[in-house]
Symmetry: C2
DNA sequence: CCTTGTTGCGCACACTGTACGCATAACTGA
DNA sequence: TCAGTTATGCGTACAGTGTGCGCAACAAGG
């Protein structure tokens, strides 16, 4: 045996990697990314930190995921998969769509980071979970009496409304979380500033000085009001 | 005269700054940021690049703006200011709201970067332009016959719908721009993949294989359909 | 045995936001 | 005219980012 001198890293010092499992898989990466996003928010997601959580180097992730953007697309699809689409109980399509919209809102609000990503991630509708969701919702609208083409339009309308409220709520909840206060506390603390700032605008001023209600339930009620109006408008098309 | 030796930078080499104008102001910074955002997109906006455009160092901007986030808040308010709210011609509140919504959509689509920011920027509704916009729209709904509280709900509903479609459209347009193709070209190129991917979903498949129409006008028509439904639903409340 | 392909990783590069402190200019008052 | 105060721009530096590149370790197939 010749004396091959590797300066320090000899066969004996080398860690003798075991490969019991693939140790890294796209699914695992996405799952861990979701956890990181949910607990620490969008700006905390870095490839290095994610890699560290998986006991891996940052660049190792790139074997399973082309991009950070692609990773986010996968995460978004995963979240869409959590939206619940009920079967059509009792022929009441409005109730079914309401449950679905309400579920979508809950999911968006639970994963507030998604709002900062929805505007960047294109082609999300090609993800498997998004497709399954859309397919089932199209079924709901078809059963309600819409033709396929109009069912598509109706679906887009409802989803646009849900995404719009979700985005707005998520923005609010994110700044709220950064402030470290509870929602009610933060609202109360903001009131004087709002009252002062709205002085030149009589209608806004009246709203700002108006009766204070529980902030979180007010958000929920507002969502329901708008959703009911959207569904009213759609129902009217069924004659 | 003693020989004070400053190594190279003597009085003569020093540039003798002239200050004809303040050279940097918050308004100027925001305006330049808007231009940069519109022409090169959100990820192209860095403090250094923005400073360079203004013939200033990156850190100089921080004398006029606390944060990059704050800068974005100012930019968002500026964009909201471009939304047009018509006066109530001919007592037709639906026409007025439609013009306003259509204008909002146009603005969001023109500044696609806003979609990636709306979900992060909190308290945007305290911006002066946003307030003016909301005040005037509340007036529209009040004139239509809504009480102030319900006018607020109606406004939120319409805006949620517009923001939802805007976000979705902006995401699409952004990836489109990155691809470098025209919209129709890109749609045609994507068709086969979409047809293939939708195979397990009969309704989506039917939609994907269906008659191809002009992509951009289809977007516009879809927006109008949903907006009309929302307004139908609101109109029904006026009895 | 050798080849070939897949996976993880260390290094390096160009770039980010922004805290800190200094230098300059404009304004103030005497 | 001169000193003192305040506002503004900027150079440097730090800790972080995404990710291209090429090497090392392994698995499978011939």
């Amino acid at each position: 045996m010749a004396a091959d001198e590797q300066p320090v890293a000899s066969v004996w010092t080398r860690p003798q990697r075991r490969r019991e499992q693939p140790a890294l898989s796209r699914a695992q990466i996405v799952a861990e990314a979701l956890d990181l996003l949910d607990t620490e928010g969008i700006e905390a997601l870095s490839m290095r930190k994610l890699g560290a959580r998986l006991d891996a180097g940052a660049t190792s992730l790139y074997r399973h995921v082309a991009n950070k953007d692609e990773l986010l697309e996968l995460a978004v699809d995963e979240v869409y998969g959590q939206i619940e689409v009920p079967d059509l109980w009792g022929r009441d399509w409005r109730a079914a769509v309401t449950v679905c919209a309400e579920s979508a809102r809950a999911v968006l609000v639970k994963h507030t980071w998604i709002a900062s990503v929805l505007g960047q991630v294109g082609l999300s509708y090609l993800g498997p979970n998004v497709m399954r969701l859309n397919e089932r919702m199209l079924g709901l609208f078809e059963a309600a009496g819409f033709g396929l083409a109009e069912a598509d339009l109706a679906l887009s309308t409802v989803m646009a409304y849900v995404i719009g409220t979700g985005t707005t709520e998520a923005a609010w909840l994110t700044t709220l979380a950064r402030s470290g206060h509870t929602e009610q506390d933060w609202v109360d603390r903001l009131r004087p500033a709002a009252i002062e700032a709205t002085k030149p605008y009589p209608r806004l001023h009246k709203l700002a000085t108006g009766a204070e209600t529980d902030a979180a339930t007010a958000r929920g009620d507002g969502f329901r009001y708008g959703l009911d109006r959207v569904l009213d408008g759609l129902a009217a098309r069924l004659g």
